[in-house]
Amino acid sequence: MDGTKENRDSADITTLLQQVRVGNAAAESDLIPLIYNELRAIARNQMGRERPDHTLQATVLVHEAFLQLVGNSQIDWQNRAHFFALASRVMRRILVDHARAARAQKRPGAREKVELESALAFAEGQYAEFLALDEALDRLSEWDPRQSRVVEMRFFGGLSFEEIAEVLGISERTAKRDWRMARAWLYRELNKTAHEDAEP
């Protein structure tokens, strides 16, 4: 068996999500590859379609993954928020990996890996920005991991503040304040980096 669509049924996923919710890191690391594989599998199916120009909305992708993994089993919205929070981390990894590969102009020896990424719609010019953002987020997390997570969920996952608040166990107001400061700092960091890069 390949790892895709791991032989679990939705009840297992729900249990894992509940464990993530109570802070079980092991459950989280169990779930991430599941989500990643599911995204990959869906994207690959998408790639087989006739219209070569078709791009794949990450939104649709993650949504499909959610339905594939969790199905129609009863699941409350808090668990769903946790799932999407994890998916946003996966999306970050996917986008950044792709940007890195594209920048390094890697030969498609790892074609399989690039398949999903190339199905995602984003402009080529954004590669450098993605990488700079990723690095800045890593730095930010050294002294404020929560702010870093807020940005990750908001930007890579598109989660609402309500959902972010639920996932992080903070108030919505706190989530918004975290977002504002982190965004300002990242904006400055990224512009600074771009400026330095431009210097001879």
Partner: protein, 962 residues
């Protein structure tokens, strides 16, 4: 240099945050002071805070648009895409949203045709966007529809609904079942008593067995696919749902999703987990799991360590079970399918050898049941569509095409295989949503209907007895033979006559003749007899003249073809110049002309990769085109056969599916012919030609007109692009080295032949010539045809010299195929409506034909694409002698130069869904290496759609004025 020298720490960050949040609400003028005060003498922090505030002000939309917007689906989840009151496909009124399944949403809907509530399950986009999945779905639904059993959920249709321009939803309609699933029941109430379980199992087995009797495997049987429906006081009906509809949509495998079981691996038989090759025994395995679940409340645990080849590889739950139950479950769960019961009925017998009670005292159950397979798809595209209210009229499970509307738009006739899978009959239906009535039932194909203006009768083409036209009353009754060989019949506006043509469907072979036939016993009158080719006629709006595609004189078709108008009395013939104008716009008509309504001609045309419905302004008083042609339909599928009614209703067909190259091996031994697909990609692959040594396959690939030439190394399986072209490229042939390809290219309908060595520029051999069909001196000289009517010629690739090999006045010759083994040339002779195969001796040494033409096929049958086998002892060709386009073989004795024995069928293609007959004659090729035949086979289906021409287009309301 970074101005920041003190490294950031959590403490400093908290400090910075305090400053940032305290100051951001202050007026700008006060900020500097406030920051300085709060920074408490830490200059660096002061600077950082200032920078941060400045960034906060100027960040604008930075990061505001998520890289991946995952929020919307969350929000969307609460809002179903269809709302109560919506009527879709003019037939199903949405009553309420029921549930969301893994593959889409489920609604309760009112079916205005069945007059009943049904379940409507939408199909999610990523599943339905893959046309191969939809094709597979269609087959599955068609099959599942055949199961009629009270313990199996009835499946009705697969329909595509166009919601707004460019958005479409695929959905399945099925029986609405109210109750709860077996799984829900078990979760709520725990295990069942054996006596109660038995009553349910009896019903489940009856349902499964009914399907198994038809050879249908469920593939995804599980407790959540069993509905428990209360049918009366304390009585429960167990219904198996989603038969055969399981699709492995999440598979990581390349290629189209396979109908392997998935979703719930706990129920999957070992052979199903290993590969998709499963039989009914896989359902029995799942049944074993479900029985265990029913009695114990839990499923057995699969032992994941190395699975034995025999025996049972699960661990049963720790639960006291009667030995008989245990034994039955364990036998169902045998790893080797052969060790299981011969059938599910035997499993039931083993469980319950004696008589039994028939009523299950079930507890009351509430709620509406939703099955797991369902899906929703919105395919959006940016193509223009001038039509409103575009809707699918015929279900996607049927192959339906060639719609024709009555004048008032209230009756539509079309051909469909609804009643007999793969065989087209004529159907008629009231609009907008009447019952579908089957008019004909001949085993040969009935197609191209034209409904009388008053809707009272239908004239159509049938392939029976050599092909011809027939008339039938719209209320049924007997069919009246009208004309042999006729094609594309069209009723006159007064309904008293028809116009049609005869000849070769290949539009490059001059053979078409036009006829008008009065329906009250007159004989057919030929029109424009001086034309070398005239075809695809339609009536003028006033019924006094005929518009047709014709070539009066010229060097090559279709370059010399134009749209002409001839008066019925034969006095005037007028060239409209319309085709030239269309060619300038790079629009090439496909199939018959749709009709001439007031000032507009409606037709299906190909432009670039898209085929869609167009109209061209051609006022009958002016007889020349005005303005640019306008695209009416979206072109996101191949859209053909338009028909228009007075009220602006437009009907047309949409074709989906694939054309691939197939290989038939051992063709000299028809009992052992093996068919396999050689190309698999999603594009359309045409004109397969295999090099004489069997090593290389050349073909053209791409959508619509954008075709590239590809070469497949049949030894390694590697495909490579040989030539990229922005022009239509046709009929490539390749030599044994795989390095030299000769092909035809068309620029604005004018064909030329080119020769090209791999990675070298292409060299033009001739202009106005077409169809390179094979080698004479391999890699050096090539056969092709040229002229009107066409001659067979030879071109030397090196010198560019050409010369005529064969010609006959008044007949088009083509399809030259030479055998080095027997030194004979095969070719076709097209004359009027016959196409006959001949052979003639052509020694390599002299290079000129010698002796008499040897007839290979009879003049009464239509034969095409004759090819020698590698040893020169057999001839293979396409023939419609049995009413279908099939591959036939004929033994040939090279020594006597005579055929021996009768023709034999190598491979029949009677099913229109997997057929060579549906491929445009021009696009088809047949090629032989040794005893293997390469040909293209269409795996297509089509549906009939209706729409309304938008009033804002200022289209004059079409009127018929006889």
């Amino acid at each position: 240099m970074d101005q920041q020298t003190i490294p950031m720490t959590a403490e400093r960050w908290v400090h910075l945050k305090r400053i940032f949040e305290a100051v951001q609400s202050r007026p700008l003028a006060e900020r500097a002071g406030a920051i300085r005060a709060l920074a408490n003498g830490d200059q660096e922090l002061e600077l950082a805070a200032k920078d941060l505030l400045a960034a906060d002000e100027s960040a604008g939309a930075f990061l505001q648009t998520p890289a991946a917007d995952l929020h919307r689906p969350l929000a969307k989840e609460r809002v179903p895409c269809l709302t109560p009151g919506n009527v879709i496909s003019k037939r199903f009124e949405i009553l309420r949203f029921l549930n969301r399944g893994g593959m889409g949403d489920v609604y309760e809907a009112w079916d205005t045709e069945l007059k009943d509530r049904i379940a409507l399950k939408t199909i999610r986009s990523h599943i339905a966007q893959d046309s191969r999945v939809i094709e597979r779905f269609k087959r599955e639904v068609k099959q599942a529809r055949g199961i009629s059993h009270s313990n199996v959920c009835r499946v009705y249709d697969l329909v595509c609904h166009r919601q707004t321009a460019g958005e479409q939803i695929w959905f399945l309609t099925m029986e609405l079942l109210e109750g709860q699933t077996l799984l829900e029941r078990l979760r709520q109430h725990g295990p069942l008593k054996p006596s109660i379980a038995l009553k349910l199992i009896e019903q489940i087995v009856a349902g499964l067995a009914a399907a198994h009797d038809l050879g249908i495997v469920h593939r995804d049987f599980k407790s959540s696919n069993v509905m428990l429906v209360e049918t009366g006081v304390g009585q429960t009906r167990a219904v198996v749902t989603d038969f055969g509809l399981a699709l492995d949509v999440s598979s990581a495998r390349a290629g189209p999703p396979e109908p392997a079981g998935q979703g719930t691996p706990a129920y999957m038989a070992p052979e199903q987990r290993r590969n998709a090759q499963i039989g009914v025994a896989a359902d029995q395995y799942a049944l074993g799991i479900v029985i265990c679940e029913m009695l114990t409340g839990v499923r057995p645990i699969r032992l994941d360590s190395t699975e034995p080849e025999r025996g049972c590889a699960v661990q049963m739950p720790q639960y006291p079970l009667q030995p008989r139950w245990k034994a039955v479950i364990s036998r169902c769960l045998q790893v080797d399918p052969r060790d299981r019961f011969p059938s599910v009925r035997d499993a039931l017998l083993a469980l319950n050898p004696g008589p039994h009670v028939t009523v299950w005292q079930a507890s009351a159950m509430a709620g509406v049941i939703i099955a797991a397979v369902s899906t929703a798809v919105f395919i959006s595209n940016g193509n223009p569509s001038r039509l409103t209210g575009v809707d699918q009229l015929t279900p996607a499970t049927d192959l339906s095409e060639g719609p024709s509307l009555s004048r008032d738009g209230k009756v539509v006739a079309y051909s469909s295989d609804r009643a007999e899978d793969g065989n087209l009959d004529i159907w008629i239906q009231q609009l907008p949503a009447g019952r579908r009535i089957r008019l004909t039932s001949d085993p040969a194909e009935d197609e191209d209907p034209s409904v009388a203006p008053d809707g009272g009768s239908v004239v159509f083409r049938s392939e029976r007895s050599g092909g011809g036209l027939y008339l039938i009353d719209a209320n049924g009754g007997s069919e009246r033979f009208l004309a042999a060989k006729g094609r594309n019949p069209r009723f006159s506006p007064d309904g008293k006559s028809i116009v049609y043509w005869t000849g070769d469907e290949d539009p490059t072979i001059a053979s078409g003749r036009l006829f008008v036939l009065g329906l009250s016993g007159q004989t057919a009158t030929r029109l424009v007899a001086d034309f070398v080719d005239a075809r695809m006629p339609v009536w003028s709006p006033d019924g006094r003249s005929i518009l047709f595609s014709g070539c009066r004189a010229g060097h090559a078709m279709p370059a010399c073809s134009e749209w002409w108008v001839a008066s019925l009395d034969g006095h005037t013939v007028h060239n409209t110049g319309a085709l030239s104008q269309l060619a300038q716009e790079q629009i090439y008509p496909v199939g018959g002309i749709g009709g001439w309504y007031n000032d507009y001609v409606l037709f299906s045309g190909r432009k670039g990769p898209a085929t869609s419905v167009w109209r061209l302004k051609l006022p009958p008083r002016e007889l020349r085109p005005f303005d640019k042609p306008e695209q009416l339909s979206s072109g996101d599928a191949r859209e053909t056969d338009p028909s228009l009614a007075d009220n602006g209703t437009l009907a047309f067909a949409r074709l989906d599916g694939a054309l691939h190259v197939w290989r038939l091996s051992h063709v000299t031994d028809p009992a052992n012919v093996l068919a396999s697909r050689v190309t698999e990609d999603a594009a359309i692959d045409l004109y397969p030609y295999v090099s004489p040594n069997g090593r290389w396959l050349a073909f053209s690939r791409g959508p619509g007109d954008y075709r590239d030439i590809w070469v497949k190394d049949l030894q390694s399986g590697i495909e490579s692009k040989f030539l990229s072209s922005t022009l239509p490229t046709l009929s490539p042939i390749i030599d044994g080295s795989g390095e030299m390809v000769v092909f035809e290219e068309r620029a604005t309908n004018v064909p030329s032949i080119f020769a090209m060595r791999r990675n070298a520029p292409a060299k033009k051999l001739c202009t106005g010539c077409s169809d390179p069909t094979g080698w004479f001196d391999e890699g050096r000289t090539v056969f092709y045809r040229e002229g009107l009517p066409s001659e067979i010629k030879l071109a030397d690739l090196k010198t560019g010299k050409t010369h005529t090999v064969l010609a006959q006045s008044g007949a088009s010759l083509g399809e030259a195929n030479w055998s080095p083994a027997n030194q004979h040339l095969l070719f076709t002779v097209s004359k009027g409506e016959s196409k006959q195969v001949f052979a003639v001796r052509l020694p390599k040494s002299t290079g000129s034909v010698a002796g008499k033409w040897i007839p290979i096929t009879s003049s009464s049958e239509w034969s095409d694409r004759p090819r020698w086998s590698g040893d020169g002892k057999y001839i293979f060709y396409l023939s419609t002698r049995d009413g279908f386009s099939c591959l036939w073989g004929q033994k040939f004795d090279p020594d006597t130069g005579e055929i021996s024995g009768s023709p034999f069928a190598v491979k029949h293609y009677h099913n229109v869904r997997t057929s060579v007959g549906i491929i445009t004659r021009r696009s088809f090729n047949l090629s032989v290496a040794g005893d293997a035949v390469y040909l293209n086979v269409g795996e297509e289906s089509s549906t009939v759609w209706t729409g309304s021409l938008n009033r804002q287009m200022e289209l004059p309301v079409p009127t018929w004025r006889p």
